[in-house]
Symmetry: D2
Subunit: 422 residues, 4 copies
Amino acid sequence: MDTDGLIALRRDLHRHPEPAWCEFYTTARILEELDSRDASCAVGPDALAGEKRLAVPDADERGRWLERARAAGADEEVLDRLAGGYTGLVATLERGAGPTVALRVDIDALARPESADPGHRPVAEGFRSEHEGAMHACGHDAHAAIGVGVIDAVTASDFTGTLRVFFQPAEEVVGGGAAMAKGGHLEDADALLAVHVGLDHPTGEVVAGVDGFLAVTHLEATFTGESAHAGGRPEAGRNAIQALGTAIENLYGISRHSDGATRVNVGVVEGGSAANVIAEEAHLVAEVRGETTELMEYVEERARTVLESAAAMHDCALETEVVARAPSARSDDGLVSLVADVARAVEGVETVLERDELGGSEDATFLMREVQRHGGLACYVGIGTDHPGGHHTATFDVDEESIRHGVEVLAGTIERIGRERV
Amino acid sequence: MDTDGLIALRRDLHRHPEPAWCEFYTTARILEELDSRDASCAVGPDALAGEKRLAVPDADERGRWLERARAAGADEEVLDRLAGGYTGLVATLERGAGPTVALRVDIDALARPESADPGHRPVAEGFRSEHEGAMHACGHDAHAAIGVGVIDAVTASDFTGTLRVFFQPAEEVVGGGAAMAKGGHLEDADALLAVHVGLDHPTGEVVAGVDGFLAVTHLEATFTGESAHAGGRPEAGRNAIQALGTAIENLYGISRHSDGATRVNVGVVEGGSAANVIAEEAHLVAEVRGETTELMEYVEERARTVLESAAAMHDCALETEVVARAPSARSDDGLVSLVADVARAVEGVETVLERDELGGSEDATFLMREVQRHGGLACYVGIGTDHPGGHHTATFDVDEESIRHGVEVLAGTIERIGRERV
Amino acid sequence: MDTDGLIALRRDLHRHPEPAWCEFYTTARILEELDSRDASCAVGPDALAGEKRLAVPDADERGRWLERARAAGADEEVLDRLAGGYTGLVATLERGAGPTVALRVDIDALARPESADPGHRPVAEGFRSEHEGAMHACGHDAHAAIGVGVIDAVTASDFTGTLRVFFQPAEEVVGGGAAMAKGGHLEDADALLAVHVGLDHPTGEVVAGVDGFLAVTHLEATFTGESAHAGGRPEAGRNAIQALGTAIENLYGISRHSDGATRVNVGVVEGGSAANVIAEEAHLVAEVRGETTELMEYVEERARTVLESAAAMHDCALETEVVARAPSARSDDGLVSLVADVARAVEGVETVLERDELGGSEDATFLMREVQRHGGLACYVGIGTDHPGGHHTATFDVDEESIRHGVEVLAGTIERIGRERV
Amino acid sequence: MDTDGLIALRRDLHRHPEPAWCEFYTTARILEELDSRDASCAVGPDALAGEKRLAVPDADERGRWLERARAAGADEEVLDRLAGGYTGLVATLERGAGPTVALRVDIDALARPESADPGHRPVAEGFRSEHEGAMHACGHDAHAAIGVGVIDAVTASDFTGTLRVFFQPAEEVVGGGAAMAKGGHLEDADALLAVHVGLDHPTGEVVAGVDGFLAVTHLEATFTGESAHAGGRPEAGRNAIQALGTAIENLYGISRHSDGATRVNVGVVEGGSAANVIAEEAHLVAEVRGETTELMEYVEERARTVLESAAAMHDCALETEVVARAPSARSDDGLVSLVADVARAVEGVETVLERDELGGSEDATFLMREVQRHGGLACYVGIGTDHPGGHHTATFDVDEESIRHGVEVLAGTIERIGRERV
């Protein structure tokens, strides 16, 4: 597929943004595209370890998106295979003896509205989101297009070996990485490439090895006490909001660690029913991070102790659930050098940085660690793109020129791996 | 109107429960009922001091209920007069020289669903709520009927003087009392009676003087800080959820007072947007009470200091709003004796308690204090009624026999006041 | 002994104030006084249930006071019997058949300096405290003198029956009442009188029945964690000061109770060793009170949960110790009337109040409840006295005229009990 | 002075350990030692900027140590010059034209007892601390000896230029650095060397440039409220312990910073007087640190906001005082290389590390930054020494062989600076 075709695909996906585990149209659309190619596809339950999915929305929510996908013309038979929120796919291209190389691209959108400003290119050129309250504000539409483009470029190349492209759902909620990593398609991978556009790097700049992923866990906690009339019988209550208050204060009080950076945040709270009722239930969503997985686990363990003790203090029951999780990871030197080398030769690429720090979290790290655990190499590649608004904002957009950069850097690297057995 | 008529009226209101400041059908229905009587009615903005209304819902919410009232057949012209949530009315019956006696009945329902159990009498006899999510679960439908019944009974009596019946909206949110007390219709009142059915007293029992109202204020507080990426730039945030946590802990820590009982509760909290974002906004609704108005004011003042300091501590802005308020009040001995005396003679009343404690809050206290401030007397009367479920629960219902008890106790007392110039 | 003798005794005790469980000189001095009388005395371990003593100071502290008592001329043989802090005595006067009447007076002083102002009567008249840092600032010196005076007055009267006077140690720390109540000398008591001078009532005023004692418990809690260098290895610490902070916030947050007044206070805190060390140990002394013993127990139970959870939250060990305890109690109507009756006839008594509220705590309640539990009657009598400074302040003093009032009211009541078998 | 002389001096100082601002004997002893040398000495107020001293103990405490110094034979005239806690001295050796080189050694001891174990060398060889509760547990006795030794070694060398040795008091409380830096003797320094023995490096190992000093501030905060009887009038109190509790919780909750490591600790708390009294006063000592001075200032600013808001919340007054402060600093590459070079040639030195991280705080950084601000170079040198117990523990001791290493590394470096005009 030529660049224009990839741009058209990207714009179609941009018009149909779908949030985590609801990428029904997206999955069907990619599948349709690959239908005419050599790649064999594992879809839905066959693509991932279903029980490892995190932050799956409820059936009502999924139903609404399924309906939209249907209305947008997605293939009914494919939709059937994705039922239950088993979205995403793994495309495999067999090209004879040689190394197995994996490429991971993520495909989900964000639950936020897109700008309607006439100056916003998707508006001006007619591919703004058709779904109110959802938007491809992080470039995963371009990632999906790059994934398809790489299949074509590798098909057209001398590469021998096996290429597997992972079209991963639910990255934005840090909920899809574990399921893809453990879905059985990564076991024989000798190398893994992951890709992200933008990240505040302009078009023409490539980061061969992105690093500095903080390991992260999102914990939901629910305190359940007992309601009582706050005027008439306050002593009869078991106060879930008091437990919440104690938890907030003490979560932020978790000690720093001398081994490196850690983070803790209570990002969402909700509780109680009325001013005059001792609250029966209160709820929080907390995030813990660490520069390494070990540091994150240190904070998580302390956070669990705080939550349990806050519940005990106010005689409440506690339920916790991990709703997102990703480890830290590091790009391997060997692959980084190779990517840098290839990138320097790509037309339009003017600057190549060997390494840069992300400072956030990404569940591609699950796949990176899985491959590294088996003795393979992994590398997370940044493809610069001019973006008018910041990531996750209403005016985000990608410079479509960078799609070609991405395809050429990645396909070129894959060819080299095939040739050099890195 | 005979008892059957009152029961029919009560059941019609029960079928059309309306929450605070949305009593459109209810007001129109009572007005229609009074149309055939001698009483002159001040309606909507004429009945109350509009700027003293608290907890008025937004225009959308009011619009929905207005639409329902229209669909249920309420008089269009009346609805026009109530526009903007000016519900309720004051009916005046002029009967020559003599004292002015006020009766206050409240007319609003609760925002909770009613039981659909076949054994629940409103279901069995076909007058269950027609509005999902709203229910007369506290007997105000019976109060309204009693109000109409008293007008009829006094009309039929030898009473000379003036009777004013206050059909008050928004008691459940403690939001209508001040507006009615300051609406200009209470200035010449020599005596005020207020009435409530049930309160855990069975049919046949009357409490001549209910006391023990706790003064109450509901405060909404909103902390506004600044969001930031919790992993990438936590120091850039001004954390509204931390301010909230500090506020919760310290509100509950407000010192007890040696002059009498106080209460404090944080009944509702909400804040933040996502696990990985430092929360920009957090919100709480707190309730403070005191055995006297002074004690309530002591707690409220300390609560405000806590809220302000919690905001300052986390560099957040604070907005607070009083969304409900009622003072304490006490029934006057003279009236209590009179009510008790009358009640003992009412057929079906078997037990008369001079005094009992409520232990909750009620904004009838605004009207009681207004009358007492002018030198008049006030009394809050409890009319027992068997109720299968507790107040505010899905299976609450009144024993309609108690409607007659209420009418006779109150009308009898009013006649005696007219005769004896209490 | 005439009034001058009692005043001389009171002044001698005033010169030798001794704190809880160190009343060595005081006990020996009273014993010496009683030597010449008919009363038989149970001393030290024979007077009380040793294992029920609370807040006993350590051996060093006791040793220092023992030394002072020796230096002040206390009888060596008596001091031997008090070794280990078994102070106090019970004097019994057998006067034939008749009821057993108990009188309880407390004898300990406070650990605070006395005013050196020339206008302070003990200074002007030469009986200021000889022990720096200790002072009879609550009138227990006068109580002891009243106890001796009552023995003399009853001896001189027609009383038949048995009189037992309990000279109780350690009231100020609420630590002696339980031990005296369970010492075996109260089992046959038909009536108990307790007495306190002052309480903001002037000379000439008597309160026949003091009430409103709050039940109280003092809890010492020690959190033990692990120290660590706060800069180099903060994560290695288990932070006792954080546990303390969490405990403080949540102790004050214990819910009020609808059955009546409760109190909670953290009165003393101490912890840590240096700014740059995570604190290994932190300590608090908290007080919980209730209008009834049940209410106090409610607060105590919640307080224990808070302390345990705060320790668990910060991975600290917790040790708690009850260092003071007293229940609530109420003076019996029968005795109150009798005391009032007698008081009205005492020369110099101008006002007799039947009842007044104390609003604090007193461990005489242990003795009152013990007697009441056996079916006897109890009454706590207040004898007004002009006091220049407030109770527990540096300029407190008693108007010695009130000593005679106390003796006559109490002895008169005891005679009446003997005569009337109340 | 030969090595034996330095060891004898070190042991004499070890026998007479003196805490911060009480180094009376120590200062006099060093002065006496230098008397026979060419160096001119600025002593006491002439050596430092008196108003910049932090954590100076009160006059009683200073008086006790002055008395001990006198008893130990310190020169009366010298003691007079140190009155008021102006300890320490700056010795200047003028050796003609050339660069000015400063050497900083600290001389204070710790307020902790020394081991009495017969196996502890100071016990075995008779130079254990003669002052109960004080000990040279961090090697500053050796530092002082090294300072004297360097003067001798430089005197015996070809060095031309000026040498200034700063014998600095009060390092352990991070209280002397600023006063020495601003005392006027550092203005013309071209280079500064500072030295520490041990730091977990064995004898024979030298760290040419110690880094990783965290900037630090110690803040004392006192909350002053109003006491009240906790049972009788709790509402009348303004509770300093509640303010303390709120401060503790929120100090630990200060957000991490994305620019680097920060620390916060509440190391000491104390407050209140009795269980039944609302606390009038409470006190804390907190420490804030940052990887850079800016990061420390970020935490300090937030800490001040927390303290002020906690005070305001509980209606208490707040007083804060900085009792210790030190910035971060970094050893300059040029000097580090030179020290490493010299060290490699010293007999007995087997390992030379160019750089190592301290991870704690040191107020030598004030002197380092002062010199660097003027365009000079600074370097903090670590001289390994086998120490049986850890720094600040009861069994700490230095391997006296390292004194010679220190002298030779430092004097050698100074000579090279003189020769090479680094």
